[in-house]
């Protein structure tokens, strides 16, 4: 029997690698622009409003670029991988909402004395997302 026509080149794998690489580049660019927007006004241009505004606009634009790269990455996945991602995102959103609101409440009801920080929530959401993807991959192994 002959081999399938597409056996020589793996279009799915190549496309997926390209989309992943593209998403990585946009994510790194976004993190760098975030660092610049956070620290540069104080250390580089002494809170010059025009330059700060420009850096914020560039940062948001790169953020949207990252979102589009993420959409392209997700659309490039096959249906099972998309299912795994969808389940992970749903769990991440749910955990973010439940934990986030409860965490914020802890200060209001004086169970914690420090101010709840967004990065703590982001960290929990990232860990949830990563764990859910791992669990999803294991489920279909």
């Amino acid at each position: 029997m002959s081999k399938p026509e597409h056996s020589i080149s793996n279009e799915y794998k190549d496309r997926n690698s390209k989309n992943t690489r593209n998403l990585k580049i946009w994510t790194v660019a976004w993190v760098i622009s975030m660092a610049i927007t956070t620290f540069a006004p104080k250390f580089l241009w002494d809170f010059n409003t025009t330059i700060t505004l420009l850096s914020v606009i560039i940062h948001v634009a790169i953020g949207f670029g990252m979102l589009l790269a993420n959409r392209r990455y997700l659309r490039g996945l096959d249906e099972m991988q998309q299912r795994i991602m969808l389940d992970a995102m749903a769990l991440c959103l749910g955990v973010g909402l439940v934990i986030g609101l409860s965490y914020e409440l802890l200060e209001d009801i004086r169970l914690i004395t420090f101010q709840p920080e967004i990065p703590h929530l982001v960290l929990i959401m990232c860990l949830t997302y990563a764990g859910a993807i791992k669990a999803g991959n294991r489920k279909y192994q």
Partner: protein
């Protein structure tokens, strides 16, 4: 849902990677379908049927039947 993907693939001496490439999905997805852990969508089932030159029913069967 049961399927004969593994048998059909073996008859043609194709690897999971080759079948995955032909159907434009990941090898993990082919593995999950063969093991019955993931049910493919109708478009993917049609694609598999076209590849093997069979009808969908000849490849995929409802387990209730």
């Amino acid at each position: 849902m049961k399927n004969r993907l593994k048998v059909l693939r073996a008859e043609r001496d194709w690897t999971q990677a080759q079948l995955a490439s032909a159907l434009d999905v990941s090898r993990q997805t082919i593995n999950a379908i063969e093991k019955g852990k993931f049910d493919p969508s109708l478009p993917l089932a049609f694609k598999a049927a076209r590849l093997f030159n069979m009808t969908i029913e000849q490849i995929f069967q409802d387990e209730a039947e």
